[in-house]
């Protein structure tokens, strides 16, 4: 299990290969989030985080995923600082004997990272900068994991 909160860019391919070669699992799922420039006006994205709490919150989420599903490994990489359009923001990888576990755990980690890990995104465009608003759909996605 590995967690990295970093300013440096990362190589999706190299990280995927390193993760896959380190596991004996039959099923590997990765998710990669990339800075989007939907309107062609984004010049950069600033990601702020809460050092200390970030690592603490993500580690807790990863531990939770490992107790909920049968995983052989999990990886979270999340960048902060200044990013430009097209750059990977973060990635999650899960390895499991069965694909259903790998998929569910990756989605679970993503839903928690979106709404519970202390990161804040600011979109910097030609005519100003705006903090990205939290979305209700992300809260809804999270609530499906509530234990009954």
């Amino acid at each position: 299990m590995r967690l990295s909160v970093q300013t440096e860019a990362f190589d999706l391919g190299a990280e995927s290969n390193a993760f896959a070669s380190g596991t004996k699992a039959g099923a590997i799922v990765t998710f990669t989030g990339i800075v989007r420039d939907n309107c062609g006006t984004l010049s950069a994205m600033q990601i702020e985080h809460y050092p200390g709490m970030t690592e603490r919150a993500i580690s807790a989420i990863m531990q939770d995923a490992i107790t909920r599903w049968t995983l052989t490994d999990a990886l979270v990489i999340h960048r902060h600082g200044l990013l430009t359009a097209g750059e990977p923001i973060m990635m999650v990888a899960t390895a499991a004997p069965h694909r259903a576990d790998a998929f569910a755990a990756a989605e679970f980690l993503m839903d928690y990272l979106k709404s519970r890990a202390p990161f804040w995104k600011k979109e910097i465009g030609a005519d100003g900068a705006d903090w990205v608003a939290a979305k209700q759909t992300d809260e809804d996605a999270l609530s499906r994991w509530d234990k009954g």
Binding site: E48, Y50, S115, A117, P118, F119, W120, A133
Partner: protein, 82 residues
């Protein structure tokens, strides 16, 4: 003494990332009342608590949580990671 941290637009409205305060506020809500009474920029930052989140010693908490024994309080908008 308690460390109070601000992130994202909360930090921008208040104009600083952290400060060290002397307070006897029993709860987060009481601490916010103290801050709001101090200066207008705090009033602007804390105008709508539904758009704010609070963490006590780096764990998500709520506004009615007691501050006894807490060393670090952080205020920020809903997270937008991932």
């Amino acid at each position: 003494m308690i460390d109070v941290l601000y992130f994202a637009w909360v930090r921008e409205r208040i104009g600083l990332p952290r400060e060290r305060l002397e307070t006897t506020a029993p709860t987060v809500r009481a601490l916010i009342a103290e801050l709001v009474a101090r200066e207008e920029r705090y009033e602007a930052a804390f105008a709508d608590l539904t758009s704010l989140r609070v963490a006590l010693d780096q764990d998500l908490s709520d506004f009615d949580a007691p501050l006894a024994g807490v060393r670090e309080v952080a205020f920020f908008p809903p997270m937008t990671g991932g």
